[in-house]
């Protein structure tokens, strides 16, 4: 009967169900319809085994319409910790179907479950037609990662898993249609509508229906009640103009970052140009004890180092809470970095009250992981100062003033939980408080000599970013670096050779090989491989990006790395970072041990161990790629 086409309504309805989930939300309509037209729908009662290794060669793809399926190792049926739970919209067993083999896991319905079933022939057709679907199915690592993220969330939290993650599109978080009024409406009309609809914000639109402003509950207090504004004034006089907007496909994390960075509480969500809803801070962090926005404000308002230190502690708590909610490493490190930036900035502002250094035109730089925006929860300070060579200014006098100021900032940051750098790579060190010309000379020296010390310095100092002050200086330094490094293949080759020293700990048969006590160092043996390789690739391609992910993303296409390879390397890096965060978090909670980056792979659950293995394989692949480029 398969040559029959289902009625369009059935296909459309099914496509609508699928479209709520990745990768179906990204597929072209025609491809999704083709997929939907080939589906069967099956029911599995609670505890029914859907697939197992005994089922033999897999010939269909299962897509969960609704329900929950446990993927577990057949020998560990009772140990749930080793298992992953799949829910609505998730697919299985992709790897086995592509490879045309039996599955290694057993899939069991945790509760009454309906699955769409796609036969192999149609599955291959859709793979051939839809690049999005193809990428999703072949990027197994990404799929595994998603499963692991959920695993993390479950391991940390017993409460019913929130369906939305920070990676969900905003579209899915919208709770009701936007409520709009023309901007000519009076404040009274707006307030009445807010009251009857029991909502916290109203969007104001001009004659053409374009959203021009937003008015929120907080505005009632600040701009109307306390400001003593009469209620018959047009709302356009008190609304916030040009509210922040994001597209419906943006991730929740992007909205959260926008709010954190710019201090908004609401973001308008647009589908094409059409307003489809408003996301508020409360929507994003309804479950969270601490609010990003509140924290951002606390940091900005801290009047003393003590107050700042208190806020910084809360940043770490927020990080832990987000980790527990299964927020991906990428978003998590971005948040932590954004808030740490804010802490640093405030520490600088406070120190500037006592130190008259504004006139020097200095810029405070973050280096290393801080420069790359890849700070984990336990990060010591790496910073430096760059100042302009002003005409008629006494360079040494300027430096002396800046050093005294930097010393105070470094000590404040230490009090805020960023320990002083053991290698003394801090702005209070006269070696790293330099004028632009001095930095040029320093960089030039490292690039020319490429001795071990120069290479070590390069790996820290070449990942620099402006945190406060004149960012133009930093850009000039970056241009200088990119222009000079290109002419020095010897230097890059030395860097590459250095980066090849540490091999990811994989054995001959692709298994993880632990060192002392069977443990591996996630920072040295995994994360650093990605970071170093990305730096080399970016510098040699003249790419100015600083974060590892950006470097890979921007450099990949220029050096003919396939999109899939780039994506796989990025996913792998994120996974390693997440394991580091988790390891550090368990240390904080008293697990002991002095090395926060060391883990025993045997303590990971089987899924995470598989992903770690795949991630290390990606690290090795990237390293080999760099090795080939420099014929190591």
């Amino acid at each position: 009967m398969n040559e029959r086409q289902p009625p369009p309504l059935l296909t459309a309805a099914t496509a609508d169900v699928l479209r709520k989930h990745a990768p179906f939300d990204a597929m072209r309509e025609a491809d999704l319809v083709h997929l939907a037209a080939g589906l069967k729908l099956r029911y599995f009662a609670k505890d029914a085994v859907i697939l197992s290794p005994e089922s033999g060669r897999i010939d269909s793809l299962f897509i969960i319409q609704r329900g929950a399926v446990q993927a577990e190792e057949p020998s560990h049926v009772s140990i749930n910790a080793l298992a992953a739970t799949l829910t609505d919209g998730e697919v299985f067993p992709v790897g086995a179907l592509i490879a045309g083999r039996a599955t290694t896991l057993r899939y069991r319905a945790l509760r009454d479950t309906f699955c769409y079933v796609l036969d192999e022939a149609r599955f291959r057709e859709v793979m051939a037609r839809s690049p999005e679907f193809h990428a999703f199915c072949t990027r197994r690592l990404a799929a595994l990662l998603a499963a692991s993220t959920r695993g993390t969330r479950e391991a940390y939290s017993n409460r019913a898993a929130d369906e939305l993650t920070m990676a969900s599109p905003l579209r899915n978080a919208i709770r009701h249609a936007p409520v709009t009024l023309p901007e000519s409406a009076s404040v009274r009309q707006v307030l009445e509508l807010m009251k009857t609809k029991r909502i916290g914000s109203i969007v104001l639109a001009d004659g053409g229906g374009r959203a021009t402003g937003i008015f929120t509950q907080t505005d009632v207090l600040n701009r109307v009640a306390l400001a003593g504004q009469p209620l018959d004034r047009p709302v356009s006089e008190v609304m916030t103009r040009n509210p922040a907007t994001l597209s419906a496909a943006s991730a929740l994390s992007e909205a959260a970052q926008l709010m954190a960075r710019r201090g908004f509480r609401h973001v308008l969500v647009l589908d094409e140009d059409r307003l489809i809803g408003v996301i508020s801070e409360r929507d994003l962090f309804g479950l969270q004890r601490l609010s990003m926005q509140g924290l951002r404000k606390d940091i900005g308002r801290a009047e003393s180092v003590d107050a700042l230190a208190f806020a910084a502690r809360e940043v770490r708590e927020l990080g832990t809470a987000m980790l527990a909610q299964g927020v991906a490493a990428e978003q998590l490190t971005q948040f932590v970095s954004a808030l740490n930036d804010a802490v640093t900035e405030r520490a600088i502002e406070l120190a500037m009250r006592d130190h008259d250094v504004a006139a020097t035109g200095f810029c405070w730089m973050g280096l290393g992981s801080e420069g790359r925006g890849e700070q984990t929860l336990a990060t010591d300070q790496d910073n430096a100062i760059i100042f302009p060579d002003l005409e008629g200014a006494d360079r040494e006098a300027t430096r002396a003033r800046l050093l005294a100021f930097a010393d105070e900032v470094n000590r404040s940051l230490d009090a805020c939980g960023f320990p002083l750098c053991k290698g003394n790579i801090m702005a209070r060190n006269p070696d790293w408080c330099l004028s632009l010309q001095e930095w040029f000379a320093r960089f030039d020296d490292w690039i020319r000599n490429s001795d071990p010390e120069a290479l070590l310095n390069a790996s820290i100092f070449f990942d620099f970013r402006s945190l406060h002050g004149d960012a133009g200086l930093v850009e000039q330094l970056r241009e200088f670096l990119l222009a000079n490094v290109k002419d020095r293949p010897v230097f890059l080759r030395q860097m590459a050779s250095n980066a090849a020293q540490t091999r990811p700990p994989l054995g001959l048969f692709g298994d993880i090989v632990g060192g002392e006590g069977g443990t591996i160092d996630l920072k040295k043996q995994a994360a650093r491989v990605f970071v170093d390789c990305a730096r080399i690739l970016a510098l040699s391609a003249g790419v100015g990006a600083v974060s590892t992910v950006e470097r890979l993303r921007l450099t990949g296409p220029r050096i003919r790395m396939s999109d899939d390879d780039v994506a796989a390397a990025i996913d792998a890096f994120h996974f390693v970072q997440m394991l580091r965060l988790r390891a550090q978090d368990s240390l904080d909670r008293g697990a002991g041990a002095s090395e926060p980056n060391r883990i025993d792979p045997d303590t990971l659950n089987s899924l995470d161990r598989r992903i770690l293995k795949e991630s290390l394989r990606q690290a090795r692949k990237l390293q080999n790629r760099v090795g080939l480029d420099y014929q190591l």
Partner: protein, 233 residues
Amino acid sequence: MLPSFWPFRRAPRLPEEVAELVARWRRLGEYDRGRPAAKGRWVVVDVESSGLDAVNDRLIAVGALAVVDGSVDLADSFEVILRQDAPSDVENIEVHGIGGTEQTEGEDPATALAAFLDFVGKDPLVAFHAPFDATMLRRAIDAHLGIAFKRPWLDLADVAPLAWPRYASRLTGLDDWLEAFSIPVAFRHRAIADCLATAQLMLLVLPQAPAMGAASAGELVALSESNRWLSQG
């Protein structure tokens, strides 16, 4: 029009292809009553009509969707709108959403119903509140094809309460049952969408059949019929 029990009325003159489909359908063997209930093909059917009076209202659309070996195959499905001389009234259109033009430009009824027969074959039929669908179809097939469409019907309105006696007193209409099992419906009262929802209820019922004492398909149909008399009688 002659009453349908009149034994000597002339059979309607049918186009050749239609007559062929009907003849082929007549020749088909009856389904295997002894097969396990969860095996083989069931056809879920839903009709839309010009009103709720099974005896006087007109049949407007038919949807059908097969459940084969405990699985719904979206492609093994059927949907047709029957051509109407005049559209049904506005309130009715608001129920099923089949507009006036769609109705007057629908399929020739004889052709549509012959295709329906071809689709369902002699497999047992499934519906929620089956007597309504059965009567609408019987009248229309009799009028347009001149044959008696007396088929075994499994009525989920009768069987579901037996499968889940605890719910029986609280759940009455299809909507109640769909809600209880969180079965989504894309467009309620659009025949094929209702079929898909009903089919999912059927998937839930089938594994319960042995526990209800109806191991075979024939026994499940019989159970449905006997419970109808009990619940209505």
